[in-house]
Symmetry: C2
Subunit: 376 residues, 2 copies
Amino acid sequence: MRVVDIRERSVDISRYSDPSIPSGGLTTSIVGVTTDAIRNGRPVVGYGFSSMGRFAQGGLIRERFAPRLLAAGDLDPMSGWAAMMRGEKPGGHGERCVAVGTLDMALWDAAAKIEGLPLHRLLRPRFGSDASVPADVEVYASGGYLYPDDDLGRLTRELTSFRDSGYRRVKIKIGQAPLAVDLRRIAAAAEIFPAPHTLAVDAIYSYNGQSAPAAAEALQRFRLMWIEDMCDPHDFDTLGAVARRYDAPIAVGEATFSAVEAKLLDRHAGLRRERDILLFDPVHCYGLPGYLQIVEALEARGWRRRSFWPHGGHLFSLHVASALGLGGAEVNPLSFPPFGGLADGQSVAGGRVAAPDAPGIGFETKADLIDLLRSL
Amino acid sequence: MRVVDIRERSVDISRYSDPSIPSGGLTTSIVGVTTDAIRNGRPVVGYGFSSMGRFAQGGLIRERFAPRLLAAGDLDPMSGWAAMMRGEKPGGHGERCVAVGTLDMALWDAAAKIEGLPLHRLLRPRFGSDASVPADVEVYASGGYLYPDDDLGRLTRELTSFRDSGYRRVKIKIGQAPLAVDLRRIAAAAEIFPAPHTLAVDAIYSYNGQSAPAAAEALQRFRLMWIEDMCDPHDFDTLGAVARRYDAPIAVGEATFSAVEAKLLDRHAGLRRERDILLFDPVHCYGLPGYLQIVEALEARGWRRRSFWPHGGHLFSLHVASALGLGGAEVNPLSFPPFGGLADGQSVAGGRVAAPDAPGIGFETKADLIDLLRSL
């Protein structure tokens, strides 16, 4: 295929289903990549978006990466990726990795639509580890951000709705309030998702070398599914101190964007390969080709694919987890609308979910999302 | 001061004084930050630019950081920096660090102009280590990129012109040609800047775990000033292997953009604090406040300020090196015009240079540069 047109726009996103609650001014980029391939009488358009939790990448997409893709001539997603990365120097793995990942998502959507296959079926023969891995994926519902008022009441209603929708695992956020408040939130969540190993907490990098071990100690009794992003992602000393002290799984990697950094994390952060969880986000890590470099590098060092639970909470991560046979995937049933969550009307069965059967990533199965993407 | 207007533009830059030689499509951003402070009857405007060797940051400046600065109200460079960084998550230290550093340069230029002082005199009482440190700075001439034709002849003429201008130290690039070609280039350069310790080489990340030790071995006999950026900046294993095997100083840090990563580099890359050289670029590292975090973190671990030789090759790095009492500074006499080099007509005396005496950074002392900046 050739890329003949690229549209791009920045849109506001919210951690909350109620967009009136302040959410830190978060944004994401949406892109539409038009190819010269014709299906059903029309050019195939692949769609992508950037970031759940960071910022849009419109400038880098428009100024650096879209022009390279448009100039690349005939391509597939892997050679298109190489064209985008041409001339990029080592180091500095931030922002550009998300810009590249956004366009990469759209290239995979287009490539799968051209083949008439759902993305996971396009990827599985090429990148899957084992044909016997089932197509459906273990998932958890992600949410539980601190509410500005009636926090415990709203948190309880949110988690109850997740349980009633069939989710068997859930993740809530901590670290934005004093530890005593967080412990009450966790206790309330554990009433709905009881121990062991159904409730995870995400500290959004809130602790440091002093506060992280104390927080880990206080969380010990909840027998959590995991504790995520306790500290700065490059603070390997603190990660190591927590790993030595705390039994429950530690989850890291959401803010680690390159294979070279993933190798450093493995080597120097004291992680326990049999137990800890790797959250690298396929979109943030220079897209699927970059994510595959990370999976390959860490498999070579003894990690199993079951340890990977990609961040994102959207359909692309679900396809990737299914095709690669990863441990599971995040779903954002309520956060970051309309990007999070499953296909319209899709239900969770036994805590597991299949990626859509529609060609491509299946954004067309989510009416509010495809309406937004088509508005490009 | 308040920031009342920000202008920004991307411009092409070239590694060569002859812009017809292909230079990888490099760009940089120029910014003009207009304040509400009036001097000589006109608003004070601070100027900044981004990157020698990577890419422009117009999108991030326009979409994310300039709006925060414009909304920040009354500020100085330190509080303006905090306003730009508000809501930025840990991790992902690429691109945005350069965007912030670009605007930060302009804030310091404006702040020093408002005080009527050259920047190094504004900074020295606040951040200098020692009032007895002289204002002038040890410098080296940076250049020596591979020429597409008549390489040895043109390299020889370039380095001769540096020597004739008063430079006592020089740095050339290697790694873009086979090692045998590089060894001939180094031998030619060493005829003009003889051993020991007047000639540095910059490998621009060209080697890996296999090729780096062999290259270091071959370079041993030249008794170089340093060997720079041998491999991927996060490949600490290779850096450590070279450090164990090679006597000459190793220089790193140009592509390390944050204090957390600088601490990892110190802890895990096998560097020798008494000998090796730290090239962190004040513009690339989130500007001067981010650079100061790195200096402070590494001083606390036993590094001396004499080990810091900031990358950049322009007047801002020269002011920073002078004020902080660093080991020295890069100068780009011919590369990256009109950004590199010294004030018009300024000469190098005994291998040392003083920053301009004009208020601010002194871009007004370089006619071609200030013409470009004023065109904003």
